[in-house]
Symmetry: D2
Subunit: 329 residues, 4 copies
Amino acid sequence: MSSITEFRAVAEQVRNWGRWGDDDEVGTLNLITPEKVRASAGLVRKGSVFPLGVEFGAKGPQGDYLFRPNPIHLMTVDGGDADHFVEHSRGWSANPVAEQIGQYFADNPFRFNDDMIIMPLQAATQWDALSHTYYDGLLYNGFPASAVTSQGATRCGIDKVIDKGITTRGVLLDVVAHRGDDVHLDPDRPVTPDELDEVADRQGVAVEQGDVVIVRTGWWDNFRRTGDRSAFTSGLSWRCAEWLHARRAAAVASDNVTVEVPMPEFDGVFLPFHLLCERDMGMMLGEYWDVTALAADCAGDGVYEFQLIAPPLAVVGAVGSPVNPIAIK
Amino acid sequence: MSSITEFRAVAEQVRNWGRWGDDDEVGTLNLITPEKVRASAGLVRKGSVFPLGVEFGAKGPQGDYLFRPNPIHLMTVDGGDADHFVEHSRGWSANPVAEQIGQYFADNPFRFNDDMIIMPLQAATQWDALSHTYYDGLLYNGFPASAVTSQGATRCGIDKVIDKGITTRGVLLDVVAHRGDDVHLDPDRPVTPDELDEVADRQGVAVEQGDVVIVRTGWWDNFRRTGDRSAFTSGLSWRCAEWLHARRAAAVASDNVTVEVPMPEFDGVFLPFHLLCERDMGMMLGEYWDVTALAADCAGDGVYEFQLIAPPLAVVGAVGSPVNPIAIK
Amino acid sequence: MSSITEFRAVAEQVRNWGRWGDDDEVGTLNLITPEKVRASAGLVRKGSVFPLGVEFGAKGPQGDYLFRPNPIHLMTVDGGDADHFVEHSRGWSANPVAEQIGQYFADNPFRFNDDMIIMPLQAATQWDALSHTYYDGLLYNGFPASAVTSQGATRCGIDKVIDKGITTRGVLLDVVAHRGDDVHLDPDRPVTPDELDEVADRQGVAVEQGDVVIVRTGWWDNFRRTGDRSAFTSGLSWRCAEWLHARRAAAVASDNVTVEVPMPEFDGVFLPFHLLCERDMGMMLGEYWDVTALAADCAGDGVYEFQLIAPPLAVVGAVGSPVNPIAIK
Amino acid sequence: MSSITEFRAVAEQVRNWGRWGDDDEVGTLNLITPEKVRASAGLVRKGSVFPLGVEFGAKGPQGDYLFRPNPIHLMTVDGGDADHFVEHSRGWSANPVAEQIGQYFADNPFRFNDDMIIMPLQAATQWDALSHTYYDGLLYNGFPASAVTSQGATRCGIDKVIDKGITTRGVLLDVVAHRGDDVHLDPDRPVTPDELDEVADRQGVAVEQGDVVIVRTGWWDNFRRTGDRSAFTSGLSWRCAEWLHARRAAAVASDNVTVEVPMPEFDGVFLPFHLLCERDMGMMLGEYWDVTALAADCAGDGVYEFQLIAPPLAVVGAVGSPVNPIAIK
């Protein structure tokens, strides 16, 4: 049985603070070299494109984390009423927005639709920024937690990693195919480092420096099928942090809510894998990545590596970003 | 001098309705084949990554279009006050969000930051969906404008193009380098089809089927330098729609606000290039793409083609999407 | 058994179109005269104040109407991190909001908290504007439904009634006390005009011209106790519209979701009472008014009339408004 | 010349901490007694109603405080496209909101409009909660500033004052009429305690315990006329805090941005009047109250006292609230 003492020991071992300089806010993405980028493009052999981003909308997986509602999408002008602006918005001086839209449409066939969104930055398929989780008052690389103000992260915001693309080699580890069952249903059976090795061996693929490792648990398949956002999920054991550290992975992602198993593996620390990856190692986590179609293709041709391009939006000071990761084989 | 009559004649000539079936909502992205995807990956030679997405934040270019404010980024929990939740949010039954956050932090070193965004979907670097602009009550492929309701686009939403990636060959046409001046300053001098040919010739590059054509006007450079969001801009002449149509381009983008020149080239139709591309041809427009660093690199090595990956978010029913397009050379 | 034919007959009978001029957007609020306002102030005898507004927050009653989430309340600067702005936001040029806040706090003891809200205008205690519901393409007084554009109601918006205060005599009709049970539990037993008369008789109060009639069903008491936002509710029968019309009431409100009983009393028209009141009579509806404390006081002193002040916010073009109605006895 | 030392001395003198108990979060509103409420109703003689709330919309006064945009008002369903839902939203399973709206409209004449708002809680006519401003890490009554978390004010939120109504006697002090010019134009000429006495004398009115004092500077008149949100404004000198304290006023409001003069009267403390009132005295400030029509009426009949009802919304944990204050004469 693990403990918080063991957690702190592992944390010290995997901690990358200072490894890429005292000002570094990019973490393990530093492990992606131009040569790696070049090589990953060489993995494109069929021209098959797999978008891993799920839909952002009212049917999304949010609701249990009360601070994260599903996206709210609203129109500022739409097709049903554009023509009416011409008639009704002229002279409506109390509403200059309506007046402006009316002016565009007057004496003119031009019409447009426009829209807004209100959403948590981690509403659906996402990257956690390195400033997302922490402990002991310090973020990755020792920056103080107070550097994340009410106006956003002055340190380790998602905007700091933009230059990395993020593009590199992606490797899918399909635990569902390995276990032969709905792995997501059993939160008491975390995916261990040994099991990751077994999956990799079975697939004939090796994780290398700079890779983004994507683990399939089957949670998203289940959510799409059932709509049950509260369904149990398995996920990585917290000890997988060391495994990723040893392999010099650049990032890790999954098709579930938290990458790691959300049920505590030991007392005293909530989401220890998050803390080790983001705060100690400087490794970003990707969540709600839909790998269903990709996994089917990999099972078909036996190729579990691909070019991955997963560019976050440069939201200033954000601690996460929506993303539509693209895998190309 | 052009006229609305000429506009309608050109519209008929370039109209792609039915070309890919009556139910098609993807338009010219159909011109991107798996072979094209494969070939575009082959353009990666140096492993150099150029993110073309600008920052999403309070300093963005919005303000003149009253229906599009700059993004508002707010924290649901931040580093300065996470510890205070433990003390203050317990028993605050009127606010279950605060209670829940407090529970995560109780008796536990785990802390997290989380955030929300409120923004127009076209606040900064973006893709227009095919449902963005139209005339005569019809969208691309003849779908009725009324299919875009207050709850979003049931037809030609940005979510309909997700399967395309979007990834293909990108070609930069650097009009600034060609003209040798700040092209963005002169809205009365639109970029003509002939000038596009001259730029391509000068650069030694040809636009081919399935390409995304990216035109540099220098507007974004100027905005970054001056912060003047209302600065004049040049852009494509409306007749460039035919040029793109003839070359079977998949999409077109620019570093300015509207791709095309916003000052009317003739009376009676506002933004005619938008209408021809989006509504008649089914061609998406990308706006506010920052090509400064990319252009410098292209000028340096003389290579103006690259692998482009520009994945929109699958916002259900959205008429546009923020995007961080990645060019890889 | 009623029918849509009967509905249309009643509608014609109670319709007030043109009664206060063709441009009127105020409806039955016209029935509140200065003399009425003066007299209602005379009802204040004890100096007891009863705010009828419920809390606006994450624990509110929303969730079943998918287009109406509960309010989202977010801080732009809060007490936990104000001091950190001084240290962290200087020179953060990418975020001028943070810079500005930091400037206020530099070399200065002054600190402030500030906040934003995202909410449906009918999230909790509310007034429906006359533009909220309609049929046959026409709003109250014959204005076209198209006058409510994507940018708000150019006709019959809540901003049009602001001059009325809204202040007048309020009368509580406590159906719960009358029935002696949880009236809210039985949607199949609507409150009929006859029952309204019985309640008024029992209470020794008469509804007069210009009154706001407030009906207690017990729904809100139940919601507060159980948190069950989906609990059944009783409410007014659609025929009560005639009753209110005959008594020349100015408005009607209730402690439940829809004032009227939501279960259809006859086939073919959803929420017929809404349509008759708002669209035909020009009578505003108030919903989610918490009359628990007021009802207890009225039961205690036998006085069911009071001064009522229920001022909507002048939200330009809104079809409803949050309100905190004040009853003073 | 004043100084921060003098500020601290005044602060100690006017500080009301503990005066109404250690748990008090209501402050000087405690000075409003039932007798005061009763008496204030007796001031209604003509039945004239003056709503003091300005419009909430895109034309509001916000823009200079970057953390406070003007309200954004968006429709979830509007009159132009309601009918189209019947046709287009059925079977749009990706958008359950649209599906639900479509169901309401199917086989049924019932139609509705609905809307949302995104706004700072102090976007226009407002009450500051006692938790709005502070110094030295302590709020009113000694509560720690950290009690205002990212999820709102657990202490001294606006929801804590709801029981007070807020209703009492209001007194208008028309400094514009007194000075005979546009007082708002001269920020270097703050309104002193002596001038308040002169105005009251001139008007023949005396401020008494429990009153809400409303000061007219003319700023809002100017804003309405010119649209210049950045226009200079005069306002109360910081020493007026003592004047209000001595007269046992319940609250203070004005037609300008900050009640007090925003230009520093001495070095070292920004908005000292705010700090003395809200943090030390426990007195709420009302801002952007439009008293133009009220002032004209008072000038006409010579009566500067009235019943005032200014009910904030019970937004859980909010540090301010929009309000539409009603003055009745």
